[in-house]
């Protein structure tokens, strides 16, 4: 599909990006709102998938990169806004694409790009007392050793040393000027509660009702990690709700920019640690796009088999844990985990690790399937998993208690799902049959016969049921793949640990179990990525969390959160 020609509609302010290896358009900041509105309303790009920034320190510029799609399918439209580094102000797109909310806050937090017009531009992943914006190229972390790995101090005359011995506790944090951590009162909390408490209710007699603010978390069993929900309540009804995150933040992207391309591969495992094969897949695609290399056929088949097995086990786990959250304690989750264990056995057999697979390489895979692995996969996908999926379906789908808690609750309309950039099962449960495997097929997904699972009610129950549908579709794909898989090589060329990657940008996206998982890479022609950004579905799916919960009872928040299926390793990065 070709991208539209904007020269007649926007004779000024929109120019094609002509840097070598780059694509899309550069929009001037003052034309951005008009351009985005036209994109959404006239050109049909109704879905803003990814928003991030790049610090071009040599050019003294900060760039905001947007990826927009049509929900009817097709390739991305990339557009960028460049602003000077001293005064980085970009108009916020939150009115046009509300899904930009958290992503703009993230870009502000990590890169210091100010989005004018954003109603709640607070830090999102870091704490309020944090000094600086860590993804800027001149920012250095406390244990800073060098800009890029490998570090010179490791070879050939290395003296073993612990990082903290070099940089003792207390001296490794930077504070803003005149900042006394002992006396500091977090202003961000007031801002958070202030942003929540915009409602006031007065009854007929003029009696004012106070609202209470309740915090769920950071330590709360339903969040499966460290995640906080701040809500204002009227009685038991939620008036407004905001997720607070970043407790597990480790600046994956900064680490990624220090690493070489290959070194990033095992780090991607640790994003969504339940589905590391999919993470590997997305990252490998992005780098392969930059390198311009093809993958041998057999490797492609193995990749698809692994990615789909990942989806199966992720959804099993999601269903199990979701039922745990709403009170069906442990029986369903342990039934689901049994099947997941068998899938993990296969991962361990092929990659050497159950969860941190690190199995994909650029241009292929780390190693071929060991003897007996294919037989084991066949046993699972033809016999056991279909049987057990039906069992879970029979076990719970008609359960009246489950249905009364989930049917019609936590409603997300089709328009809202698109608006808030929800992805994956969340989007499809709201009636948008958007699946990247179909919309813009990557790898060899165009060869398989499968249906895009879709449900139309957009409630919690549909988000539960669609995961069962997707397991069945994934099994269908694996069944075809294990029958068709050819013999042959699994790697193009010799595997290399260091390589120069041609300058340019690339965006690799896969349909991960939780939604669109994208890796945005900028290469400056060296062996380390200049910019490495992860479009994390768990993180962006939470944008719709607040709006979905308004009007529900506080106890239902847990059910709604469970139905989104987040993993904090990916949300907080």
């Amino acid at each position: 599909m070709t991208t539209p020609d904007f020269s007649t509609r926007f004779p000024e302010g929109v120019i094609a990006d002509e840097r070598k290896g780059y694509e899309g358009y550069i929009v001037s900041a003052d034309k951005l709102i008009e351009f985005a509105t036209a994109l959404r309303d006239e050109y049909g790009y109704d879905y803003l998938s990814s928003l991030t920034g790049v610090d071009y320190i040599k050019e003294e510029k900060l760039e905001v990169v947007y990826h927009a799609y049509k929900t009817i399918g097709g390739t991305a439209l990339v557009f960028k806004v460049q602003v000077p580094r001293e005064k980085p102000e970009v108009p916020s797109l939150i009115e046009i694409y509300p899904g930009a909310d958290f992503q703009e806050r993230e870009a502000w937090d990590l890169l210091g790009i100010k989005f004018t017009g954003h109603p709640d531009l607070r830090r999102i992943l870091l704490w309020e007392g944090f000094e600086g914006h860590p993804l800027r190229k001149d920012w250095q972390e406390p244990y800073y050793e060098a800009d890029v790995k490998p570090f010179k101090s490791r070879w050939p005359s290395a003296e073993y040393q612990r990082a903290e011995a070099k940089n003792p506790y207390g001296a490794n944090v930077k504070y803003p000027d005149k900042f006394d951590p002992e006396k500091w009162v977090p202003a961000g909390e007031d801002a958070l509660y202030g942003s929540l408490a915009k409602y006031e209710t007065t009854d007929k007699t003029g009696l004012r009702t106070d609202h209470i603010t309740v915090n769920l978390g950071p330590q709360h069993p339903s969040t499966h990690g460290v995640f906080r929900i701040a809500a204002t309540l009227d009685g038991e009804t939620i008036m407004n709700l905001k997720p607070v995150m970043g407790y597990l933040h480790r600046n994956h992207e900064k680490i990624g920019e220090r690493n070489t391309y290959l070194q990033n591969m095992p780090f991607t495992d640790r994003l969504d640690y339940l589905s590391s094969m999919s993470n590997n897949f997305g990252y490998a695609l992005a780098v392969e796009k930059l390198l311009g290399i093809e993958v041998p056929e057999r490797a492609d088949y193995i990749r698809v088999i692994m990615a789909e097995l990942t989806r199966v086990q992720n959804h099993l786990f999601a269903i199990g844990m979701f039922l745990n959250d709403i009170g069906a304690f442990f029986t369903p989750s342990l039934y689901a985990i049994e099947e997941r264990e068998l899938v993990l056995d296969i991962f361990e057999m092929v990659s050497g690790s159950r969860m941190m697979c690190n199995y994909f390489r650029f241009g292929g895979l780390a190693r071929d399937l060991p003897a007996g692995a294919l037989q084991k996969i066949k046993g699972l996908v033809f016999d056991r998993l279909p049987r057990k999926t039906d069992e879970i379906d029979r076990f719970l789908s008609e359960n009246e208690i489950l249905r009364s808690r989930t049917v019609g609750q936590g409603y997300l309309s089709t328009e809202d799902a698109i608006k808030y950039s929800a992805a994956g099962p969340m989007l499809r449960a709201s009636g948008v049959p958007y699946d990247i495997r179909r919309a813009a097929p990557y790898s060899i997904y165009d060869r398989f016969d499968f249906d895009v699972a879709v449900r139309y009610n957009g409630d919690i129950y549909d988000r539960y049921a669609i995961r069962l549908d997707e397991i069945r579709e994934s099994l269908k794909i694996i069944q075809q793949a294990v029958e068709q898989i050819p013999e042959g090589e699994i790697q193009t060329g010799k595997p290399r640990y260091q390589m120069k990657v041609p300058a340019g940008e690339s965006y690799g996206r896969v349909e991960g179990p939780k939604g669109e998982l994208g890796f945005y890479l900028v290469s400056d022609g060296t062996g380390n990525p200049y910019r490495y950004h992860v479009r994390a579905p768990s993180f962006i799916n939470l944008t719709a969390f607040g709006p979905m919960c308004v009007g529900l009872k506080i106890a239902d928040v847990v059910a709604v959160l469970g139905s989104i299926d987040i993993v904090l390793g990916e949300t907080d990065r």
Binding site: Y160, A366, P370, F395, S397, I401
Partner: protein, 211 residues
């Protein structure tokens, strides 16, 4: 009928409950604490109790399983010969940079020598990715199978702790080792053939000169 869904679900639980006993009876005591019992319980036909009672029972790890790396040494005439040449590829490829290598230098010339004086792996930092083993050109650094490393202190391995015999490597990874031995032999033979060819050529030249 209201409650039918619940009853249907309870049927599933009841079936699984009964299956547990049926499977126990079918295996008559052999289901637990035996290798074949564990194999059955982790196969696609597993039915009933699924759990492995660690540490009394242990799930066997597959050959590719990887944990903290170690260094392989060969035994030549009763002496330990470290395969490592201190080339530094593992230290360069390591994502969390947990490998520290000090290369030896020749005491006479002061030139770099092809073996390490110190080799340190900080197992607390190691992320068990296996890239070092994957890219080692001398089959020297390999991933271990021993996962029971819990300790009260920090775990840092130095050269002596890391050395394990080639026979141990063969024990944990027989298929990989056989492949590598064959490859090394092939490379050696190719080298020998090349050398022989060169010598034959030189001899022929010499003979020509003499003649």
């Amino acid at each position: 009928m209201y409650g039918k869904g619940i009853l249907k679900g309870l049927g599933v639980t009841a079936k699984r409950f009964i299956n547990t006993y049926l499977d126990d009876i079918r295996w008559l005591g052999k289901r637990y604490y035996t290798a074949e019992g564990i194999k059955h319980r982790s196969s696609k036909d597993a039915n009933g109790i699924f759990t492995i009672q660690y540490p009394e029972e242990k799930l066997p790890v597959p050959e590719e399983f990887r944990y903290i790396p170690f260094l392989v040494y060969d035994e030549v005439d009763g002496e330990k010969v470290n395969r490592c040449t201190a080339c530094g590829i593992c230290a360069k490829v390591c994502p969390p940079q947990c490998i520290w290598i000090e290369r030896a230098s020749d005491p006479v010339t002061g030139r770099p020598a092809a073996h390490p004086v110190a080799f340190t792996i900080d197992a607390d930092i190691c992320m068990n990715c296996g890239l070092c083993a994957e890219f080692c050109p001398f089959d020297s650094i390999k991933m271990d199978h021993d996962y029971e490393l819990a300790s009260y202190g920090r775990t840092v391995y130095h050269l002596d702790d890391l050395m394990k015999p080639a026979s141990y490597y063969d024990e944990i990874r027989p298929i990989n080792n056989a492949k590598e031995v064959a490859l090394r032999k092939e490379a050696e033979e190719a080298k020998a053939a090349k050398k022989a060819a060169r010598e034959a050529k030189a001899a022929a030249k010499a003979a020509q000169k003499a003649g």
